[in-house]
Amino acid sequence: MGLTGLEIFKQLPKKNCKECGQPTCLAFAMQLAAGKASLDACPYVSDAAREALDSASAPPVALVKIGAGEKAFEIGNETVMFRHDKRFEHPTGIAIQVNDNMSADEVKAKVDKINKLVFDRVGQVHEVNMVAVANDSGDAAKFADTVKLVQDNTAYPLLLISGDAAAMEKALDVAGANKPVVYAADAGNYEAMTALAKKYEAPLVVKGSDLNSLAETVEKVVALGYKNLILDSGARELSKVIADQTQIRRQALKLFRPLGYPTIAFANNDDPIMESLYASTYVAKYAGIVVVNSAEPEHILPVITLRLNIYTDPQKPIAVESKVYEILNPGPDSPVLVTTNFSLSYFCIAGDTEAARVPAYIIPVDTDGISVLTAWAAGKFSPESIADTLKKLGIMEKVNHNKIIIPGGVAVLSGQTAELTGCQVLVGPRESAGINSFFKQQWNQ
């Protein structure tokens, strides 16, 4: 990260042979520092120099790719402690656990539930990311059978949990090609586990009993030539996990390399409500992957929602395009609803209108993606901007009436908006949830 041209130059062969396409080694070094060239262009760099430059230019938290195919995802590459400094890059992967003591039917039923944990929010699809399979039975054959059963029934990447290298080997025979996460290499088994992960190029979790033993084992695994790693400090109590997650991120940003990898945290708890609260906390507090037991939507939806919130770009609200949206094939009789182009505002009113089964036009005014009241306070949701938008989109020509509905929160705009637009302005409910009864009482009479 952030080596200067001069620092890089010191590591180059200084032959000035131009084979890299640059006039001098120094010029090449400058290109490298600017990220405009790749070290591979110089045929003469020594292995030692390559190693030094590679690790110096590696990001503070390594990027790790999990799984294969359509549901593969990435974690890591984070650069900050706080989201107000810069956005958090890669949303936490959510893994739901099954184990090989469960019957085949139980496993299938739970995996079916997991597959259905897909939620539509602000126009995007949000879902969980992995299925974890734990070798609770201690039996290698059972483990491999369960892994196979899960793999056959889901497209999500797997997280294979066993401390027994022989069991892991059997499971990888079944699932290795899909790059599951191998959990875990510890001080006792790291040689065997590393060899297995390496064979399949699968991400490997290194597990410590504390931060020191974790860093030590990471160094041993790296010495074996494997760096596709995820960290588990071994902490399971809430306050220790918060401390360790914070330390690992701090150490990574200080470029303490043994801890420069994404993390995994276990929220598993017999009480699904506490589990959900822990999982949400670990999503906010730096976990790359969080593991839970519950596959019930009421416990998972809050975690997924918090992840969406924490990982949005603090500089850029999620916005929708300002255009005519048609809900349920509206016609000339249909109501015209005005809102802002903040995604959340639009999807609240669009969702509740659809739920009310009333065909309608929805017109989001471009307010730079801020909500109804915020935009009103900022002067961006005004009689003028509403009038301009209606005109620009020509919406009133599509209907045979003269009415628009504005959000109840901005009732004060109604008079002037009526004047500027020549429309009859109806003041809707404050909350979009009230739109159903509003239609019944004030539109369909």
Binding site: A243, S276, T305, N309, A377, E431
Partner: protein, 312 residues
Amino acid sequence: MAVTIAKERWTSKVAEEAYGPQGLKVGGETTLPFLHFEGEIPNRAVTALEVFDTEPKDYPDILKEPFADVINDPVAWAKKVVEYGADMVALRLMSAHPDWNNASAQDVAKTAKAVADAIDVPLIVIGCGVEEKDGEILPVVAEALEGKKALIGCVTANNYKSITAAANGYGHYVIASSPLDINLCKQLNILINEMGLPLDRIAFDPLVGALGYGIEYAYSIMERARMGALTGDKTLATPIVAFIGQEAWKAKEAKDADVPEWGPQADRAILWEATTATTFAIAGANIFIMRHPESVKRFNAFVDEAMKSNAY
């Protein structure tokens, strides 16, 4: 290789305040939330459950149920709230709202006094939310509550003068409310302080949003305010109040009984409120004003765990 634990050297702390005749302590931390390994967190997060002085209009059934027998009697409701384990009672004077009963200052002050006398925990009094009306009623309430060391709000840039003067005179604390902007928050704390109310008699409310409804804005404001406080900005070092219940119970995910794809309402609604609370706990809030006793219970169980030592 041994890891050299990275500890921030914070130079300052959040103001410590003590509410009610009981002296319930809040604030005083010298590090970020739950980082016990690098500083002191002398007092745990406190919860308050809301009590309306007149029957609330928008409570879904699941929220009415725990208070069904007391929902028309603020004194009985307040006692019930204490039984449920809230550290404080948050009395909301909605009857004063011009669109509700437009009750007079004297009327609401009488209720406030009756509630304060009936409970043995500190009282938070919240106005009706109309700035002008609150500017009229809260000074009278402050007088009626002399000696109760109550937390009174919300004070805004438009009505702070009358309320601050009364809170100062009668020995109370104020909640300073500003919309999600760290500079507005500082500014209001300074204005209130310039009227002679010490900073350690103010708690601030950054106007939070619920999980899924803008929670990330207040989350980041709180983190920034806490870092400001710990690096010596006294005008950001007042305890943080978060109106969790008011926001969480607006969310469809909490209110709607039947949305099959979201699962049964019971756990979902409780989690909506509790997750909103725990998220602000890890961002730095100190006082959590909530609505459902079960979410308070869950939140407290979370805080119990988070308050355990994590020293290295």
